[in-house]
Amino acid sequence: MSVQAPKIYTLTNLTRSLENHMDQTFGSKTFWVKAELSKVVVSSGRRYIELVDSEKDTVTTKIQAIIWGNTYTAIKARSGKVIDSIIQPGNKVLIEVKIQYDKLYGLKLLIIDVDLSYSFGDVEQLKKETVLKLKKENLFDNQQTIYLPTISKRIGLISSLGTSGYKDFVTELSANHYYTNFKVKTFDCKVQGKAAIPELIKAIKLANEYDLDVLIILRGGGSKIDLNIFNDYELCKAICESKLPVITGIGHETDDVVADLVARKSVITPTAVAKALYLSIATFNSNLLNSYKALKVASDNQLRNKKEEFKRHKKDIYIASTSILNERSQNLLGYKHFITTRLNSILRGHINTLDVNYEKIKLLSRDLVKQQQLDLSSKLKLIDILNPERLLKTGYSITSVENKKITTLDNLVGKELKTETDKGTIYSQITKIKNKTT
């Protein structure tokens, strides 16, 4: 039995045959394929891509793919710049491909279209999962319990130095007309691609070791896919667990990323973050000034009111006191009048008493004198009546013995009897006495 020698082909024959076969089999067909972009190299407008598929973190398939320059331009014209962020390593994509085998370049998938909504759906799915997980772990609202100082001057800045977002922030912060005296501690790190995630987490943890008022995470403009790192669970968890209040300034135009949702505050752009910081201080200053003005106005008003009130009281007091004084003065005048009247009355009383007494004295003394005069007069008359000479003149005589009044007739005989008459004295001898018969 003879052994038939195998048919020998040239490689070209084989690859041409394969090429023809592939072309006949898949040439006009297109397929929608889900895959992850593991490598992307841009060259002369073309995207050279390595597509992979994996199960449980193990790559199960790997194949090269290409987007021709004109195809990429067409997709970009239709979908916008977002395609740039979708065609990035690590992203999962839904792509329409043609299978092409070229005897020189081998097997390749020609990417002819990209389903943007699939990539976006992946973003949304990641967002959803991260939110659910953080909520389940009670971390989601952590930042909302942290006090965000109104005056945040010591700023921790997590950003990629030199990027436009960083420059916008620093320029706005240092060249505004409101407040510029900020102290910025910068933590330089990547903010693009999956590699940025561990750097951002490390920067957040490091920043928490500093004495800062606030921690800013900045990322300039980017597409939904670009910003998808800010939906990462570990990064968002680090934000939740930050003791410093975190403000995100992630430049996006439409939907929030989870980092925005968990941060203490989120602002739409880096410039807006800077504005928020100095405006907060400016607003505080302005409020303080307004409050001061309001307080001053209020206190001035109150002072004025009190002054008016005081004036009224002063006037009232003056009127009341004047009235009281007048009343008291009238009373005093009354008392004075009363005292004067009483005094006059008392004095008149005394004067009257004196007058009466004096008049009495005068009257009584005169009476007394007159009485004495009368007594004297009557006595004089009596004397006159009793005058012996008056008796002698009327013819009577006065007889005496030894110049004594005759009081007894005894022993008179023989004695000389003296008889005085108006004409002369008669002396005679007593010879006989005859007693009166009773």
Partner: protein
Amino acid sequence: MTSIPKDMKYEDALAKIEDIVGELEQKEVSIDELIKRVDFAKQLVDFCQDKLTKTEKEIEKIIQDK
């Protein structure tokens, strides 16, 4: 003649006057004493009137001053 002591009080003077009036009313005064009594009474009355006039003026002055 009896003269008024320097430290004589108005009330005492008035009482003295009333005593003299009483004596005169009772006619207890002899003629010899009468002149003395009346003279003393006149002195007492003048004293009292003087006292009253001074008191009145003093009070008037006090009231006017106030």
